[in-house]
C-alpha cells in the first residue's frame, strides 16, 4: 500500500510535495520499516512525519497547491451569507490540532467541527481546502463521525483525485471491519468517490462485498457495482460483475439484494446494449417468462419501492398467450389495494399494457382501476393528486366513459392549488357527455365567478370546449351569453373568443348570439384575441348587426393605436367582408383601412392590405369569392396532438411524459433541446417563431452587406422587401412571391414565416449567390441530386424530426479554415445552402454550434433532415441524419460531408 501510495503521489503531486517524499524516501530505514509494519497507521505516521520535518506553513501550502483551484462551484445562496474564507481557515487549523490527538473527549470536538464543515458544504461554501485535515481526523471509531467524513469525502473526492487517494487506505480497512454496518458504510463511500484512476482499489472490496455473509453489505455492494459501472464501464464489465449480480439476483435470499441487482442490471445492460450484442441478449433475458414469474411470485417479499421496479419490468414483458395475461393479472390484482400510490399506479400500467390487444378485457380493466385511482386523487398531498390527475386525464382521453359517472370527484375545492384545479377542469371537460353536461356546465359556471382570475378563465374556456364537442348546445349557449352579462372584462374577453368558435361550428345560433354580442361596447375589450373575435363577428354578420360598419369605422379610425397585428389583420378582413355586404356604408372605412394597412410596418398586415387592394382592383367579384366565400360550418377543430404522440405518451404511462404531455424523447434526448427551445405551455410543441425569423433577416442582411457580388439593383430589391416600400417591388420577384402569398392568405390568416424563408432562398438562388461561392467542380459528382429550391416550414420540419428515426450518425472533422470561418455562423448556413442544403434553425455559442439542415431530393419530395453540432475547439462536426428514404441517407451524408469539407475554402 505504501508503495502504491508513493507512486501516485510522485506522479501527480507538485514539486514541493515531491521534495517531501524524496526526503521520506531518504529517511533512515528504521522509519520506513515502521511505516511498512504499521500498515494501519501508516498514513497518519507519514503525514505527521512530514509536518515534523517541515514547518507547518510549508505543509499547508503544499497541500493547497496540490489542489486544483477551487472550481466555480463555490456559490453563495444569498449575499447575506458569509463568504466563509476566514471561517474555513479557522476550521482548518482547529482540525489539524485535533488530528493527532487521542485525548478523551476529542471525538466530541471533532464532531462539532465536522458538523460545521458539513454545514458549510451544504450551503455551498467550498470547504475542499480542508480535505487533508478531514482525512487526518477520520481515524475514529465513532460511526457518526465516520459517516460525516464519508459524506465529505464523497462530495469532494471528484475535485481532488490525488487527495482522495489518502482516503482509500482507511476505507479499505473499514471494508474489512467486523461490524457489517461499518463494512457497508465504507464500501458505499468507497464506491461514491467517483475518481476514475482509483477504480482498481474498488475491485477487491466490491468482490468481497458481493460475497459478504451480511445482506446489508451485499445490498450496498450491488449498488456499488452500478456506481463502478458509471465511473468505468470497462472495468466493471471486465471484472465480470454483471454475471455475479445475475447469479445473486437469482439466488440471494434477501429481497433488497435481489431488487438492487435488478435495478443495477437493468441500467447496466440497457447502457451496454447499444454496443454489445451480448448485453442486448442479457437485457432481453430479463424479460423472459421464468424470470418475470420468479419476480412476480415473490413480489410480496419486496418493499414497496422494489415492487415498483418489478412492476415496471413486468410492463415490458410480452405475454405468450391470453392465459399468461390472466395469470399475471391474477397475481397482481391485490397490488391495487396497496397503500403506496406508486405501487398502485405501476400495477395499473401493467394491467393496461397487458390487455392492449384484448378490447373487452381492456374495458374491464378500466372499470377495475377506476376506484383505486379515484382514491389516490383524493388522498395525499396536492402534489400527489396532481401527478395522479395527469394520468387520469390521459386515460380519460382514451376512454371518456370511465369517469363519466364520477364527474363529481373532479369538482374543485375552494382551497386547492391552481395546478390541481386546472387539471380538474380539464378532466371535467374531457368527461362531459350527454348525461352529465348540464351538471358539469353548471359547476363550471360557478368557477367563472372565482376569485382566481386564471381559473375563472380556464373554466369559461372549458365551457366553450364542451360546447364544441357536444351536439346539443342549447343550454350552453345561454350560459355563455350570461357570461357576457357579468360585465367582467376577462369574462367577456374569454366568452367572445368562445362565441366566435361556437358560431364557426354552429352557425345556426348566430341570431341569438349576435343580438347579445351587438350590445357589447368594443371599447371595453382590450385583449387582442377577444377584440379579433369581435371584429370577426362584425365582419361575418355585418348583415345582422345594424351598426357593424360604424363600429368597424370607429376601430379603423384608431388604427394607429391598435398594437396587435392580429387585430389589424382581422380589421382588414372584416372591413372587406362588410364591404361586400353593405358596400355604401363601408366603402370609406375600407379605403382608410387599406391605406393604413399598406403603410403598416408589420409585414403581414402590409401584405394582406396590398393583396386585398390588388384583388379588388382586378375584379370585385373575384375578391368576394376569395375573401368572403359562403360559410361552411367547421365540423371538427383540429386536435393539437397527433394520435401517434398520444400513443407514445400512453406507452410511457407512470412517468414524466404524462405530466409534460409529451413523449420522453422530447425532453430527455439532448438533441431535441438546443435551438428548439420548447415552450413550457402544455402540449405546445411548436418551434417558437423567433428561431426561424431570427435567422432569415440575418441572412438577408448578410447578403446585403457582405456579399460584394450583389449588384446594386438587386440590393435595392432586397431592401425594398424589408422596408415596406411597395414601389420597389420588381416584376419577377413579385409574381413569384405574391402568388404564394395569395395561397397563403386564402388558407390561413397570418402568413407563415415559411413563405419568407422560402422566398429568401429562392431569391438568393436567383442572384446566383450559391454558384459564386460554390467550389470548383467536385472530383466525383455526388450520386444524389438535391433540389436547390427545397422548402419546408419549421413546423413540418419539427414534426418530421420527431417521427423519423435516426438513420445515420457520423462525426467529421472540420478543416481549420472552416473553423475560422465559423466565427460568423451565418456563413456556414450560406455555404451549405449553395450545396442545396438549407438551414432551418441554428444556435449556440463558441465553441459549440448547432444547426438543423434540411434538403430535398431532386424531383422527388423526399426530405433529408440533419442535425449538425460543430465544436470549434475540437474541430469536429457530429451529424445525425433522418431521411424519408433510408437507403439514400448514406449518399446524402456524403454530399453533406463534401459540402462541409469545402467550408471556408476559398
Amino acid at each position: 500500500i505504501v508503495g502504491v501510495f508513493f507512486f501516485h503521489l510522485s506522479t501527480h503531486e507538485t514539486p514541493p510535495v515531491n521534495q517531501n517524499i524524496s526526503t521520506i524516501l531518504a529517511a533512515p530505514s528504521s522509519d520506513l520499516s515502521s511505516i511498512l509494519s504499521d500498515r494501519v497507521t501508516s498514513r497518519w505516521f507519514l503525514l505527521r512525519w512530514i509536518s515534523r520535518r517541515t514547518n507547518s506553513n510549508h505543509i499547508s501550502t503544499a497541500t493547497i497547491s496540490a489542489m486544483p483551484p477551487p472550481a466555480a462551484s463555490s456559490r453563495y445562496p444569498s449575499p447575506s451569507q458569509p463568504s466563509g474564507k476566514s471561517e474555513v481557515t479557522d476550521l482548518k487549523s482547529q482540525l489539524r490540532q485535533l488530528a493527532g490527538s487521542r485525548a478523551p473527549g476529542v471525538d466530541d470536538s471533532k464532531r462539532d467541527l465536522f458538523k460545521k464543515v458539513i454545514s458549510y458544504m451544504t450551503i455551498g461554501i467550498d470547504v475542499s481546502s480542508v480535505f487533508g485535515e478531514m482525512v487526518m481526523c477520520s481515524a475514529t471509531s465513532d460511526i457518526v463521525l465516520k459517516k460525516m467524513c464519508y459524506l465529505y469525502v464523497g462530495n469532494y473526492a471528484k475535485g481532488n483525485p490525488d487527495l482522495s487517494l489518502l482516503t482509500i487506505n482507511f476505507l479499505q480497512r473499514d471494508c474489512k471491519d467486523e461490524d457489517p454496518m461499518i463494512r457497508g458504510l465504507a464500501l458505499r463511500s468507497l464506491c461514491s468517490l467517483r475518481v476514475p484512476n482509483l477504480v482498481e482499489y474498488l475491485l477487491g472490496p466490491l468482490g468481497s462485498g458481493l460475497k459478504d455473509n451480511n445482506s446489508y453489505v451485499r445490498t450496498i455492494a450491488v449498488t456499488g457495482v452500478l456506481k463502478l459501472y458509471h465511473i468505468s464501464a470497462s472495468t466493471c464489465i471486465d471484472a465480470e460483475f454483471p454475471a455475479t449480480l445475475k447469479s445473486l439476483m437469482l439466488h440471494d435470499s434477501d429481497a433488497q439484494v435481489v431488487a438492487n441487482c435488478l435495478a443495477a442490471l437493468q441500467e447496466i445492460w440497457s447502457l451496454e446494449a447499444s454496443h454489445s450484442e451480448e448485453a442486448c441478449r442479457e437485457k432481453e433475458s430479463l424479460l423472459s417468462k421464468p424470470l418475470i414469474y420468479y419476480f412476480l411470485n415473490r413480489i410480496k417479499e419486496f418493499n414497496e419501492w422494489a415492487q415498483c421496479l418489478i412492476l415496471e419490468l413486468a410492463v415490458k414483458y410480452v405475454p405468450s398467450d391470453s392465459n399468461d395475461i390472466f395469470d399475471i393479472m391474477n397475481l397482481l390484482e391485490d397490488r391495487l389495494q396497496h397503500a403506496n400510490g406508486a405501487v398502485v399506479l405501476a400495477t395499473v400500467k401493467v394491467f393496461l399494457q397487458l390487455t392492449l390487444s384484448m378490447t373487452d378485457v381492456h374495458q374491464q380493466v378500466y372499470e377495475r382501476i377506476k376506484s383505486p385511482l379515484l382514491t389516490l386523487v383524493s388522498s395525499g398531498s396536492p402534489e400527489q393528486s396532481y401527478a395522479i390527475l395527469s394520468h387520469l386525464h390521459l386515460l380519460v382521453v382514451r376512454a371518456p366513459f370511465i369517469f363519466a359517472s364520477d364527474y363529481k370527484h373532479f369538482y374543485c375545492q375552494y382551497n386547492e392549488p391552481s395546478y390541481v384545479k386546472k387539471l380538474k377542469l380539464e378532466m371535467l371537460t374531457a368527461i362531459a357527455n350527454e348525461s352529465n353536461t348540464y351538471e358539469i356546465v353548471t359547476e363550471l359556471c360557478e368557477y367563472a365567478a372565482n376569485v382566481d382570475i386564471e381559473i375563472a378563465r380556464e373554466s369559461i374556456r372549458a365551457v366553450g370546449k364542451i360546447a364544441l364537442q357536444q351536439y346539443d348546445v342549447n343550454a350552453i349557449v345561454d350560459r355563455l351569453l350570461q357570461f357576457l352579462e357579468m360585465e367582467k372584462d376577462y369574462v367577456t374577453a374569454e366568452t367572445l373568443v368562445l362565441v366566435k368558435d361556437l358560431l364557426r361550428k354552429h352557425p345556426q345560433w348566430s341570431h341569438d348570439c349576435i343580438s347579445v354580442v351587438g350590445g357589447i361596447s368594443s371599447k371595453n375589450i382590450q385583449e387582442p384575441k377577444a377584440k379579433a373575435a369581435l371584429i370577426w363577428m362584425l365582419g361575418e354578420y355585418a348583415q345582422d348587426m345594424s351598426d357593424a360598419p360604424y363600429i368597424l369605422e370607429n376601430l379603423i379610425e384608431n388604427w394607429e393605436e391598435e398594437h396587435s397585428a392580429e387585430v389589424r389583420l382581422h380589421l382588414l378582413t372584416a372591413a372587406m367582408k362588410c364591404f361586400f355586404k353593405r358596400a355604401p356604408e363601408t366603402q370609406k372605412a375600407l379605403g382608410i383601412a387599406l391605406a393604413a394597412g399598406i403603410a403598416d410596418f408589420h409585414q403581414d398586415v402590409h401584405d394582406r392590405a396590398l393583396f386585398y387592394y390588388r384583388v379588388l382592383q382586378y375584379d370585385v367579384h373575384v375578391a368576394e369569392r376569395v375573401v368572403s366565400p359562403p360559410q361552411q360550418a367547421v365540423s371538427a377543430f383540429a386536435d393539437t396532438q397527433s394520435s401517434e404522440i398520444k400513443d407514445r405518451i400512453f406507452d410511457e404511462f407512470n412517468s414524466l411524459s404524462v405530466i409534460y404531455q409529451k413523449p420522453s424523447y422530447i425532453f430527455t434526448d439532448k438533441e431535441h433541446r438546443g435551438p428548439f427551445e420548447f415552450s413550457d405551455e402544455l402540449g405546445s410543441t411548436s418551434i417558437t417563431p423567433e428561431v426561424s425569423s431570427d435567422i432569415v433577416p440575418a441572412q438577408q442582411f448578410e447578403a446585403n452587406d457582405k456579399d460584394l457580388l450583389l449588384s446594386t439593383d438587386e440590393k435595392d430589391d432586397n431592401k425594398g422587401l424589408s422596408s415596406n416600400n411597395g414601389s420597389a417591388y420588381t416584376a419577377p420577384y413579385e409574381s413569384s412571391n405574391i402568388s404564394s402569398q395569395m395561397q397563403e392568405l386564402a388558407i390561413s390568416g397570418p402568413a407563415a414565416s415559411a413563405t419568407t424563408t422560402q422566398s429568401s432562398f429562392d431569391f438568393d438562388d436567383l442572384l446566383g449567390l450559391g454558384l459564386s461561392t460554390a467550389p470548383a467542380p467536385t472530383p466525383s459528382p455526388p450520386l444524389l441530386k438535391l433540389n436547390a429550391r427545397a422548402a419546408l416550414d419549421p413546423r413540418a420540419f419539427q414534426q418530421k424530426w420527431r417521427q423519423l428515426p435516426i438513420s445515420l450518425s457520423q462525426e467529421y472533422s472540420v478543416n481549420p479554415q472552416g473553423i475560422a470561418a465559423l466565427t460568423v455562423p451565418q456563413s456556414l448556413i450560406k455555404h451549405m445552402q449553395s450545396h442545396s442544403i438549407h438551414c432551418i434553425a441554428s444556435g449556440g455559442q463558441s465553441p459549440n454550434f448547432k444547426f438543423f439542415f434540411f434538403a430535398q431530393k431532386e424531383a422527388e419530395p423526399l426530405d433529408y433532415l440533419t442535425e449538425c453540432i460543430i465544436n470549434s475547439s475540437s474541430a469536429k462536426a457530429q451529424i445525425k441524419v433522418k431521411a424519408d428514404e433510408q437507403s439514400t441517407s448514406q449518399a446524402f451524408a456524403t454530399v453533406f460531408e463534401t459540402a462541409l469539407s469545402k467550408f471556408g475554402m476559398p
Binding site: M181, A255, E333, S418, Y419
Partner: protein
C-alpha cells in the same frame, strides 16, 4: 427505472439550501441555483409541482416552510418520486418527534444526511421503514462518545432486519401489558350548492393502530362492510344479520396486511408493526351521514349593507357532541363594521382572511345554532364590483361518530404464547373540506 433521483435538496422559503445530497453525477452542482432562479424567484412557484429546466426535471413539494426538491435527469416515475418524499418526511418526523420544519432540519442535519444515505442509494429508494432504521440509526449516534473501540455495535440482528422478509416488525418484542389501540378517523368532504343540494360528498377514512404486543402476533379485524359480511355469511352458510352494512368504494392497506387473504376471504389479517401505523384507508361515497347542515342566507342590501344569517344544525345522535366547531363565513374585502348575535359560541370578524369566524367549543347533537350579522361596507367609488361569494367553510370533530357508519365488529389477536390483550377502539369524524356555497 422507478426513480433514479440524481439529487435531493431541502430549501427554506428564501431559497437557502438546508440539505444538499447529490446521488448521481448526471446533474450539475448548480441545480439548486437553477431551481432558485427559474422557479423560486418567479411566479412559477406553486404553479406546478413538476418543472423542467435544461435537461432536468424538478419534482418539488412544500412541507411547512421547507421545499423538498428532487432532481431527475431521466423520464422518472413522478408518483413514486412524490411518495418517496412524503414517506421520507414521515420518517424524519418520527425521528424528531412531530415537527418537520426549517429549524428541525437545521438542528438535525447530520441525522438527515445519515438517513438520506440509508433510504436512497445511487438514486434508488431503499428501506424507509422507521421501525427498522431506528435499530441502527439513532438520534444520539453511538451510545458512548468516549469509547475508542467499536464495542457498542448495533443490535446484532439489526442489519439482518434491515432487509428481512417481515421488514416491518422485529422479533423478540416483549410487553408487560399487551394493548392494541384502534382509531377510526374519518374526514367528510362536502360541497353543497347555495340551494342546499349536495353537489359532492364523500368520506375518506383511516384506520390507525397503536400496537404494544409481545412476540409475533396475528391480528384479524372485522368491520361491518358489506362485502366482508356477505363473504362471512356465505362461508358460515347462514344468512347475514340484518343491520347497517357499509359499502366501501375502495380500500388500501398497509404492507403488513395479507392482501391475498383479503381478496379471497375478505378478512383483514396481519402481523402488525410495533407502535403506531396506518392499517388501512378507505373511501366511501354512498350513504354518508352528514354531521352538520348549514343554511345560510346572505342578503345584499344596497351598496353598503349586508345581512348574513347562518343556521347550523347538528344531525348526529343527541348523546354525542361535536368539538372545536368553527364556521368561517366570508364577507367582502371592504367590510367596515360588523354587528352580530349568536345563540351559542363566539364570533369575530377576521379581516386578514375576510371572514366572520364563529367558534363553538362544544356542539351537542340534534340542536341548532344561529348567527345573524349585519355588515356595513365601505362604499367604493367607481364601477360596481360584484363580490364573488366564496363558500362557507366548516371545521369540526365529532368523537364516537362515523359519517360512513363504519363499525369495528371484532379485533382478534392471536399469538403462540396465548397472552391476553386489551383492545381499545375509538371513532372520530372530522371535517375535510366542508364547503357550503352561499
Amino acid at each position: 427505472m422507478p426513480v433514479a433521483a440524481s439529487a435531493i435538496y431541502f430549501l427554506n422559503l428564501r431559497g437557502d439550501v438546508l440539505i444538499n445530497r447529490t446521488y448521481r453525477d448526471d446533474v450539475g452542482g448548480n441545480m439548486v441555483d437553477a431551481f432558485r432562479t427559474h422557479i423560486m424567484q418567479t411566479k412559477e412557484l406553486g404553479n406546478c409541482p413538476v418543472r423542467q429546466i435544461g435537461g432536468c426535471s424538478f419534482v418539488y413539494m412544500r412541507i411547512s416552510n421547507v421545499y423538498i426538491v428532487t432532481v431527475v435527469s431521466s423520464n422518472a416515475n413522478v408518483a413514486c418520486g412524490f411518495k418517496f418524499v412524503v414517506e421520507a418526511v414521515a420518517l424524519f418526523k418520527s425521528y424528531f418527534g412531530g415537527a418537520f420544519d426549517e429549524d428541525a432540519i437545521k438542528n438535525n442535519f447530520v441525522l438527515i444526511y445519515e438517513l438520506l444515505d440509508e433510504i436512497m442509494d445511487f438514486g434508488y429508494p431503499q428501506n424507509l421503514s422507521p421501525e427498522i432504521l431506528k435499530l441502527y440509526i439513532t438520534q444520539e449516534g453511538v451510545r458512548s462518545p468516549f469509547s475508542s473501540k467499536p464495542k457498542d455495535k448495533p443490535v446484532p440482528n439489526a442489519t439482518l432486519q434491515v432487509t428481512g422478509a417481515v421488514g416491518w416488525r422485529r422479533e423478540g418484542l416483549s410487553y408487560k401489558k399487551n394493548e392494541v389501540f384502534l382509531d377510526i378517523v374519518e374526514s367528510v368532504n362536502l360541497l353543497m350548492s347555495s340551494k342546499g343540494n349536495v353537489l359532492r360528498c364523500d368520506v375518506t377514512g383511516k384506520v390507525l393502530m397503536k400496537c404494544f404486543l409481545s412476540g409475533m402476533p396475528d391480528l384479524k379485524l372485522g368491520l361491518n362492510d358489506k362485502i366482508g359480511l356477505e363473504k362471512e355469511s356465505e362461508m358460515k352458510s347462514r344468512p347475514a344479520k340484518s343491520g347497517k352494512t357499509i359499502e366501501l368504494d375502495d380500500v388500501t392497506f398497509h404492507q403488513c396486511v395479507n392482501l391475498t387473504r383479503f381478496n379471497s376471504e375478505k378478512t383483514v389479517s396481519f402481523v402488525p408493526p410495533d407502535g403506531e401505523f396506518e392499517l388501512m384507508k378507505y373511501r366511501i361515497t354512498e350513504g354518508v351521514n352528514l354531521p352538520f347542515r348549514v343554511l345560510p342566507t346572505i342578503k345584499e342590501l344596497g351598496r353598503t349593507r349586508m345581512e348574513v344569517n347562518v343556521k347550523v344544525k347538528s344531525v348526529f345522535g343527541a348523546k354525542m357532541f361535536a368539538l372545536g366547531v368553527v364556521v368561517k363565513i366570508p364577507v367582502p374585502k371592504q367590510t367596515a363594521k360588523t354587528n352580530f348575535q349568536v345563540t351559542s359560541g363566539r364570533a369575530k370578524y377576521n379581516p386578514s382572511i375576510d371572514c366572520l369566524v364563529w367558534k363553538i367549543r362544544k356542539f351537542p347533537g340534534q340542536t341548532e345554532s344561529t348567527l345573524s350579522a349585519e355588515i356595513e361596507l365601505i362604499s367604493t367609488m367607481g364601477e360596481k364590483k360584484s363580490w364573488t361569494r366564496p363558500p362557507i367553510q366548516m371545521e369540526f370533530q365529532v368523537p364516537m361518530f362515523t359519517a360512513s357508519g363504519l363499525r369495528v365488529r371484532f379485533l382478534k389477536v392471536w399469538e403462540k404464547s396465548g397472552y391476553n390483550t386489551v383492545e381499545w377502539v375509538r371513532y372520530i369524524t372530522k371535517a375535510g373540506s366542508y364547503e357550503i356555497r352561499c
